[in-house]
Amino acid sequence: MPENLSALDLVLTGDPALFAIVRLALVVSLSAVLLAALIGVPLGAAIALSSFRGRDAAIVFLNAMMGLPPVVIGLIVYLALSRSGPLGEWGLLFTPQAMVIAQTILVTPIIAALARQTIEDLWLEYRDELTAMDVRPLRRITTLVWDARFSLITALLAGFGRAAAEVGAVIIVGGNIDGFTRTMTTAIALETSKGNLPLAIGLGLVLIAIVLAVNGLAWALRRAAERLAG
């Protein structure tokens, strides 16, 4: 990116490098949220509906994992994907895929913990009806996930917020390579370290605008769907 331009100039001039960064940031974060949802929602639902020894400890552990330090996750994924690591032969270190893996690990506990709470609350409401209708366990889970879908959007948004704002893990496993693994947050970190604060601030505002837009879109979709389904 030209260093003498502000972020607004970059946006207004349609700077291809900026849009590549924005696109990569969105692809990485949304992919991580999608994968985390595929893992976290069923996991949260299963914990919500099951009773087993150590369930309370599992819930405490899951809730605690919401506060995982990104740099620690970045370091663990780095070690796993490095040439001498157990997954080194995959050759994923310093690629967008590595960033998706790290962010998925960060986001999954958030979605799973929030899904667990949401589905457990709904289960308390539905328990008598579903039991009386002799609904089998798997169908109970799919029913609760479907009926909690509007509330679960909030969990997905919380996960997206975490992924979009995260810098520590992606900079470790992605390497902040210009044109390949540079995202909004890593670009902001780089510009700040170079003393180019106006550009860093401008990029930050662009990032905030993107997060607001995604949340606004999700909110509008949720309201529209709620009006139709109740």
Binding site: D128, E129, A132, T143, L228, A229, G230
Partner: protein, 219 residues
């Protein structure tokens, strides 16, 4: 037929049913009456299989298909027709059942946006979707206005005419007179008196039944 044989159900130190014996046989509606805490809802839930006896036995002959409408039914977060379809045992009779309860006009509306009376009737349609041979109704008109109560009672009569055994609880003696073939008076978790409705109201055999019919408090 469902038979309670000396059934006791306790929740902690509280005895909900106390060595209760009762037979729910095919035929005209059985109406459970009694003061609050008498055990009406507990009998329905136990007959439905939702509460296991602490002691005694609940015998079910011929594995009757059972369904229940709770006093405050929970609507799934879906449309009215989707709620009925969800519970459907086999063939899709959603339209037929919504028509039976007078809700064909509300088929595509979100179930949770319906009025209290409409939700009760929708819960009844959903229970009927299970194709039950015995239907339990827990105070189905408790919080309804007179018009909604009449609509609900009309549907209950229609259900009875289809050969489905109706077992319902109510605190409304007028409703019991209007609907019951058999009346069971419960008090403190026990059956005080069970008799055909005309005999129960015209010639009650127990002092408790006479007091209850007269509107006196059973304590």
């Amino acid at each position: 037929m469902i038979r309670f044989d000396e059934v006791t159900i306790a929740a902690g130190a509280v005895t909900l049913l106390d060595r209760l014996s009762l037979t729910l046989a095919a035929g005209a509606p059985t109406v459970l009456i009694g003061p609050n805490g008498a055990g009406k809802s507990t009998v329905l839930r136990a007959a439905m299989g939702l509460l296991p006896p602490t002691s005694g036995r609940i015998l079910r002959e011929g594995e009757p298909r059972r369904a229940i409408v709770f006093q405050r039914p929970t609507m799934l977060r879906r449309t009215a027709e989707a709620n009925v379809r969800y519970a459907m045992a086999d063939a899709d009779r959603t339209a037929e059942l919504l028509a039976l309860v007078g809700l064909e006009h509300a088929a595509t509306r979100p179930a949770r946006r319906l009025s209290g009376g409409e939700q009760q009737r929708l819960a009844l349609a959903r229970a009927l979707a299970r194709d039950p041979t015995i239907l339990f109704l827990d105070e189905p008109t408790a919080s309804l206005d007179p018009a909604s109560t009449k609509a609900m009672e009309d549907v209950i009569r229609a259900v009875g005419r289809q050969g489905i055994k109706v077992v319902m609880s109510t605190h409304d003696l007028g409703e019991a007179r209007r609907l019951a073939g058999e009346v069971v008076l419960l008090h403190r978790g026990r059956v005080v008196e069970a008799a055909a409705a005309p005999r129960f109201f015209d010639a009650p055999a127990t002092e408790e039944a006479r007091k209850f019919i007269a509107g006196e408090l059973l304590v």
